[in-house]
C-alpha cells in the first residue's frame, strides 16, 4: 500500500522559511507559570516537533510565538529579530498557525476562507485574492471543493483548507497545534503528508503533535516537554531510540 501526498512536488513551489528562536520563554496564565524558560532554535527550513503529555505547555508555547498569548518574559526571535518589539499583527502575518479544530469561518466557502485575509490583511484586490485562494486550494488538493462550506467538508478537508489559508499569507514559519488530533483516523495521513510536503519544500515548521511516526520521519529536531519545561531534545532517532530522561522513557512507553 502506498501513501501519497496530495501535493505533486513537481509544481515547483518552494518556501523560504525563516529561523525561529525561543530564548528563556516564560508564559503565565494569571499567577501560574505554564511555560518556564523554554529555549529552542528552529533553523530555517527545518521542522521541529514538540511532543509531551497534556498540560506540558505545548499549545501555550505556540501561542507565545505569534503573541496570541503575551509572553511573560524571555524572547522570541523571528529571522533574528525579536517579535516582542514589533506590532503583533505584523508578526502574525509572517507566521501561519493551524489549529486543532481548524477554526474555519463557517459562513464562508473554502475559497472565501482562504481569500478573506488576503483581501483584508494583505490588501489584495478581490479578483487577485480569489486567484491566489484557488491556487492555494489547488496546492492542498481541494480546487474542486473551493465552493464548499466547511460543514460540507470532512475534517481532513477542513484542515487542508485551514493549511491553505495559512499558506496563502506566505508565512516564513508555520505552527501546527495538534493539527490531526481532531480527525477521523483514516484522514490523518492525508494531512500529515501535506505537512511533510511543506517541510520538504523549505518551510520552517514548529509542530505540536501526538503523531510519533510523523515526528520520527519528518522532524529534524524533536523536543520533549513536560510541566512547562523542555526535558529533552535532539534528533528524532536519538530521542525515540535512546531516551535519556525517565520522564521521556515513561511517556514513550505510554504512547508507542
Amino acid at each position: 500500500m502506498t501513501y501519497t501526498s496530495p501535493m505533486p512536488v513537481t509544481d515547483g513551489h518552494f518556501y523560504a522559511g525563516s529561523s525561529l528562536e525561543l530564548i528563556d520563554l516564560t508564559m503565565a496564565y494569571g499567577d501560574i507559570d505554564v511555560l518556564r524558560e523554554v529555549s529552542l532554535t528552529v533553523a530555517p527550513g527545518t521542522t521541529t516537533c514538540i511532543i509531551g503529555p497534556s498540560g506540558s505547555g505545548k499549545s501555550t508555547l505556540l501561542r507565545g510565538v505569534n503573541r496570541l498569548h503575551e509572553p511573560k518574559s524571555g524572547d522570541v526571535r523571528l529571522a533574528g529579530e525579536s517579535v516582542l518589539t514589533q506590532k503583533p499583527d505584523a508578526v502574525r502575518k509572517r507566521i501561519g498557525l493551524v489549529f486543532q479544530h481548524f477554526n474555519l469561518f463557517p459562513d464562508h466557502t473554502a475559497e472565501q476562507n482562504v481569500a478573506l485575509a488576503l483581501r483584508n490583511v494583505k490588501g489584495l484586490s478581490k479578483a487577485e485574492s480569489m486567484r491566489v485562494a484557488r491556487e492555494r486550494l489547488d496546492e492542498v488538493g481541494l480546487a474542486e471543493r473551493a465552493d464548499h462550506r466547511p460543514r460540507d467538508l470532512s475534517g481532513g478537508q477542513q484542515q487542508r483548507v485551514a493549511i491553505a489559508r495559512a499558506l496563502a499569507m506566505e508565512p516564513e514559519v508555520m505552527l501546527f497545534d495538534e493539527a490531526t488530533s481532531a480527525l477521523d483516523p483514516e484522514l490523518v495521513k492525508g494531512v500529515l503528508n501535506l505537512m511533510a510536503g511543506l517541510a520538504q519544500r523549505g518551510m520552517t515548521m514548529l509542530v505540536v503533535t501526538h503523531e510519533m511516526g510523523f515526528a520520527r520521519k519528518v522532524a529534524d529536531q524533536v523536543v520533549f516537554m513536560d510541566e512547562g519545561r523542555v526535558v529533552e531534545s535532539g534528533k528524532p532517532g536519538d530521542l525515540f531510540d535512546r531516551p535519556q530522561s525517565p520522564r521521556l522513557q515513561r511517556f514513550l512507553s505510554e504512547v508507542l
Binding site: T4, S5, L68, R92, F99, A117
Partner: protein
C-alpha cells in the same frame, strides 16, 4: 341566549368594526408600522453599539453599557416614554416640530436597544473563541475580525430573538398615545379606542386587536419556523460515504514517504 347576544354586540359588532376599518388601515396601521420600524432600526443600531461596548476589553466601555442596559431594561416602558416624551418636548419642538413621534420613537428605541444589546451580546459571545483567534493569527485587527467574522455569525444566531423584539416594539408602540396625538397621528390602538368611546361599543378596539395579531402572529410563526431550521441544521440526510473514498481521491503521483515505506 341573552348573554351570547350581549357578548356579540359588545365585542363583535360587525357594523361597528366595518365602520372603523378604513381608519384602521389608512391611519392606524400605517402609523403603528412607521413608529415600530423606526424604533426597530434605531434600536438595532444603538443595540449593536451597546453590545460591542459590553464585550469590549476596556471597562470604561463595558461599565456605561451595563448601566445603560440596566436602566432602560429595568424601567416600565410607559415611564420612559413619558419622561423622554415630555421632558424633551420643548427641544423636540424646535428641531422636529410639534409631532410627538420623534420623541416617542426615540423612547421606544432606547428601550429596545437595551434588550437588543443583550441579544447581540449573547449572540456574539456564543461564537466560538477560535474564530477570533483564527482571524488574529492571520494578522487581522480586533476590529476587522469582529466586523468581518465574529459579529455576522453572532447576529445570524439571534435573528429569531430580534424578530421577537420587533413584536414587542409593535405592541409597545401603542403607548405613544400618552404623548398626545393629532387625529392623523393616531396608531392602531388609539384609532380603535377613539371609535370605541364614540360608539360606546368595544368592537372597534377588538378590530384594532385583530390588526395587532395580524402583524405579530405570522411573525411569531415565521420565527419559530426559521428557528427550527437553524436548530436542526439545513443539511439533508445524505447516504453514508466512506472516509476511505476521500483517501482514494487524494492519490495523484506517489511521493512522500512519511508513511510505512521506509
Amino acid at each position: 341566549m341573552d348573554w351570547l347576544d350581549n357578548i356579540i354586540t359588545t365585542f363583535f359588532d360587525f357594523d361597528a368594526m366595518l365602520q372603523v376599518l378604513p381608519q384602521l388601515f389608512a391611519v392606524g396601521l400605517v402609523n403603528t408600522l412607521v413608529i415600530s420600524i423606526w424604533a426597530t432600526v434605531i434600536g438595532i443600531v444603538l443595540g449593536m453599539v451597546i453590545a460591542i461596548m459590553g464585550i469590549s476589553p476596556s471597562r470604561w466601555l463595558r461599565i456605561p453599557a451595563r448601566i445603560y442596559t440596566d436602566i432602560f431594561r429595568g424601567l416600565p416602558a410607559i415611564l420612559t416614554i413619558l419622561l423622554i416624551g415630555q421632558g424633551f418636548a420643548r427641544f423636540s419642538q424646535q428641531v422636529f416640530g410639534p409631532s410627538p413621534y420623534p420623541l416617542g420613537i426615540l423612547a421606544l428605541s432606547l428601550i429596545a436597544s437595551a434588550y437588543m444589546g443583550e441579544i447581540f451580546r449573547a449572540g456574539i459571545q456564543s461564537v466560538d473563541r477560535g474564530q477570533l483567534e483564527a482571524c488574529r493569527a492571520l494578522g487581522m485587527s480586533y476590529g476587522k475580525a469582529m466586523r468581518l467574522v465574529v459579529v455576522p455569525q453572532g447576529v445570524r444566531r439571534v435573528l429569531p430573538a430580534l424578530v421577537n423584539q420587533f413584536i414587542a416594539i409593535v405592541k409597545d408602540s401603542s403607548l405613544v398615545y400618552f404623548l398626545g396625538l393629532l387625529v392623523s397621528e393616531r396608531e392602531l390602538f388609539r384609532v380603535g379606542q377613539d371609535a370605541a368611546v364614540l360608539t360606546g361599543n368595544l368592537s372597534p378596539l377588538v378590530a384594532a386587536g385583530l390588526f395587532y395579531l395580524a402583524i405579530t402572529v405570522p411573525l411569531t410563526h415565521l420565527v419559530n419556523y426559521f428557528d427550527n431550521r437553524f436548530r436542526t441544521g439545513r443539511r439533508k440526510a445524505t447516504p453514508p460515504k466512506s472516509g476511505l473514498d476521500e483517501v482514494e481521491e487524494q492519490n495523484p503521483t506517489p511521493m512522500l514517504t512519511y508513511g510505512e515505506n521506509s
